[in-house]
Symmetry: C2
Subunit: 189 residues, 2 copies
């Protein structure tokens, strides 16, 4: 029961179609949850059946019609109930981390390549998040924004994404450096 609440949260301040949600929960601005389109379409059906959201058909001329959803009173209540429950810390499950853990028995070059690739991806995400934060706060300074803007939840969530990717970038670069330096030592010796 987790995607459920992520969808409710995403629909809080705006109505979206499954397709639009799929973009939000995919790459890019998926700064607080991730899910595939198939999951979302299925979840939206379930949520509407449960009365937590309500859908509305939108007729479009230049595009296929779509169905957009908004959170109901019941949905809001469910989200508030959820916000009150305890949540366990999430755990990292990253293939690359496994490879680094095992690197001493592996082909070091392959791991370095992947670390550098991941670092590039992190840079792209950092740029994206930084941009989104800028858009969210507009002309106001960050402190000012966080103190007085009506809505700050999405901003704080995005800050988390930014910090996470910065940490990610640093670690990838650091690890690649360490592994490179050792390769040099071995080749020299």
């Amino acid at each position: 029961m987790a995607l459920r609440h992520a969808v409710l949260a995403a629909l809080l301040d705006h109505e979206y179609s499954g397709y639009q949600l799929a973009k939000i929960f995919d790459t890019g601005v998926a700064n607080f949850w991730h899910a595939l389109p198939q999951q979302l379409y299925a979840e939206l059906v379930k949520l509407e059946e449960a009365g937590l959201i309500s859908g509305r058909r939108v007729i479009q001329q230049d595009r296929p019609n779509k169905r957009v959803y908004t959170v109901t009173q019941l949905g809001l209540a469910e989200l508030e109930r959820f916000a009150g429950t305890e949540s366990k810390p999430s755990c990292v499950r990253d293939d690359l981390l496994v490879k680094v853990y095992a690197v001493d028995s592996m082909d070091t070059n392959a791991v370095i390549t992947q670390l550098l690739g991941r670092a590039e991806q992190a840079k792209a995400k950092i740029a994206l998040f930084a941009d989104l934060l800028r858009k969210l706060r507009g002309d106001v300074g960050e402190e000012e924004f966080l103190r007085h803007n009506e809505q700050i939840g999405p901003y704080l969530a995005c800050q988390r994404g930014l910090r996470l990717e910065q940490e990610n970038l640093e670690w990838c670069a650091h690890s690649a450096n360490v592994l490179n330096a050792r390769m040099a030592v071995r080749d020299g010796a």
Copy 2:
């Protein structure tokens, strides 16, 4: 096919029983993967059937007997193959992040409480990781260790865990502060 390789990686430099692996993959030093005992016992059976690990019965007097596993040549080859494949960036799926995203419509106090709780958990993990890093490098300085120690994979992985938890702690504390400050403003206004 991911737990599979995490188990292989864990068995690389030491033989372990399912029970011991369960401790490694649970809380504490689960710095590179997480799994429950049930998953591990099942995975170990599958891995042995596939010939990637081989088990050995150990008779104990003061405790129930156990079965410990080591990686075979085939297992090592599989891990190396895996290390060469591309891996997608992992995504965060954290309930608490959803709650913060939605905080503008939620009970702020409940969210703050959970952020502070999470911060405490992060502190505990930081202490654990820092301690493990100290043990791993012994008397040698970190730079020296990373340049010359034979095995550094587990060290780099643990550094990642440490950085991640530090980031986590900072964000939780920051977010709790921001939300607290706003509560004060609202109450004052």
